[in-house]
Symmetry: C2
Subunit: 331 residues, 2 copies
């Protein structure tokens, strides 16, 4: 059994990470590549990054020993529906010497599995966007939000950034001095914290700065909101509380009242020690007081575990999860 | 005095309208042209539409008798800052045989003047976008919102349309049958009122339908919301109430507590006999119980009045307003 190796990949927009484990939980290799999302990078370039990460991971592993593999990536459904992208990924898999099949899962499922081995539960993710999903037997079931910045992503980094600008514009409309957060947002957008003698001129400059970029770039203001909330700044505190309520509302669209299975929090805004993570945990504990709250961890290791649990020799998937994704139960 | 004529133009994105009056209040001519906004149509084409409207208006008027003229248009500030556009408008003015100078005002001021002769007050406009402005001595003073769909336009037609789609997506996320308004929005966006067996597929189709067009086109859904509210449909009623509260909040950014000068409502969502107009009037009456509420009327006539009141022989501008813009005091 220790001869068997599994491979997991966490393919993101800016980096790809691969890991190999044997079934005793020992890590047998690790590798990295650049962004490997076929939707944003093109199938061939994405497959090249996948191959680079796999080759580094398998540098000291006989690839014929690899019995299962899982790739987690955003937009997994689009990959599976795109024969060209699928062929490019198949080619990279073979070029790395791998003979076993591989499965593809969405990043939401992998984030869930990086936080718990429980087959059923909920995952709630907030980064640039926001999405909540029910997991049934370690498959994504119903999904809420994830509708993108124009129509959804309530409580996301985009949402926090846009609302911070709206508060700034309201201060300028009222001709009242911007608060601490609003002043930082103003400086970030216009290069100066100063309001013109005619505040409308400053408001117009703010709007032009935002509309001169892609809307989703409003998410880059989210760290300012989080920092303000951490410092107790009133607008930052209020926006983080509203974001937490909206994220919990998205979860409530798919998660039954009284559910006691785990909720895993993922995405950059929820996995660190952030005020938004704390506020979301409080909202979730209020709505589902008996549910364990977990935090997403190592996505590549979780992908490897998702691969391993399909093998007949893995009789206690939960025990293997504790070896491969340590710390996830700490929440 | 009856020999003196004034000209007013209401220049919009889809049509241009011009009128000529003498100072007894008799209409001496009227003309129309296509969209004449130099920002969206280009200076030369806009000027050509202006000239067409002026020539029709002055068909039976000696243009040397015209002593004053006013052009109202959205983005008046951009025209005044653009020498090329200004030269094109000057050229059209001269080509129509006009020898007097003309003034340019924003459409918000013209909308205000089409509802009242009071020199000081507030104008609140909701169409595709939304804006509120204070008027001081018949000049625009402070402005609130008008920040565009990404960051502002709270309570506008865009806002109503986007929120209606959001409510539909929430129904689909919850896997509950869409309500009446949501079903109409679904049919408008996807061509069918049916929800797929997997509601997420329908949600994705809704998002794709919206993101395949310019965001501002969400405003075309606003009439569905208004119609639903008129029929007492709960989501429509709730969205109209929230839009009214947001519009009143925008007005409150610039209008002092306890103000008793008039508020003029303008824009397609507020000037008709619409539930949103009614809801906004109720919100305004609650916040400013002693203020007269007016409704915007004939913009070209208001522009003509704004021109006339600068003439030395016009000693009672309010009396002339009652002649040129009849009905405006009825609110």
């Amino acid at each position: 059994m220790s001869g068997t190796v599994v491979v997991g990949l966490d393919v993101g927009g800016t980096s790809t990470r691969a890991v190999a484990y044997d079934l005793t939980g020992a890590r047998r290799g690790e590798g990295r590549g650049g962004g490997g999302n076929p939707t944003s990078h093109g199938a061939d370039r994405a497959a090249a990054e996948l191959l680079a990460a796999l080759r580094a991971t398998l540098a000291h592993v006989d690839p014929t020993r690899v019995r299962a593999g899982t790739i987690g990536l955003a937009g997994a459904g689009r990959l599976l529906a795109d024969p060209q992208a699928r062929a490019a990924f198949d080619g990279a898999w073979s070029a790395a010497g791998l003979r076993c099949p591989y499965t593809v899962h969405g990043d939401a499922l992998v984030a869930y599995a990086s936080g718990t081995a429980a087959p059923d539960g909920t995952v709630l993710i907030a980064g640039t966007g926001a999405i909540a999903a029910q997991v049934r037997d370690l498959r994504l079931d119903r999904v809420a939000d994830g509708h993108g910045w124009l129509l959804g992503d309530a409580g996301s980094g985009f949402w926090l950034g846009r609302e911070a600008v709206r508060r700034l514009l309201a201060d300028l409309d009222r001709a009242q001095p911007p608060g601490d957060l609003a002043t930082r947002v103003l400086a970030e957008l216009t290069g100066s914290p100063e309001v013109a003698p005619r505040p409308r001129a400053t408001a117009d400059a703010v709007v032009q700065s935002v509309t001169g970029r892609a809307p989703v770039e409003l998410a880059r203001l989210a760290p300012l909101v989080v920092a303000a909330a951490r410092a107790g700044e009133p607008t930052g505190v209020a926006l983080v509380a509203e974001a937490a309520a909206r994220l919990a509302e998205s979860a409530s669209r798919i998660r039954p009242v009284g559910a006691i299975d785990p909720v895993v929090l993922g995405g950059g805004l929820l996995t660190g020690d952030t005020p938004l993570g704390d506020a979301v945990r409080a909202e979730l504990a209020r709505r589902w007081p008996d549910a364990p709250l977990r935090t997403a961890g190592d996505g590549a290791a979780a992908a490897a575990w998702l691969a391993a649990r399909e093998l007949p020799e893995v009789t206690d998937p939960a025990a293997l999860h504790a070896l491969l994704v340590p710390g996830s139960a700490l929440g």
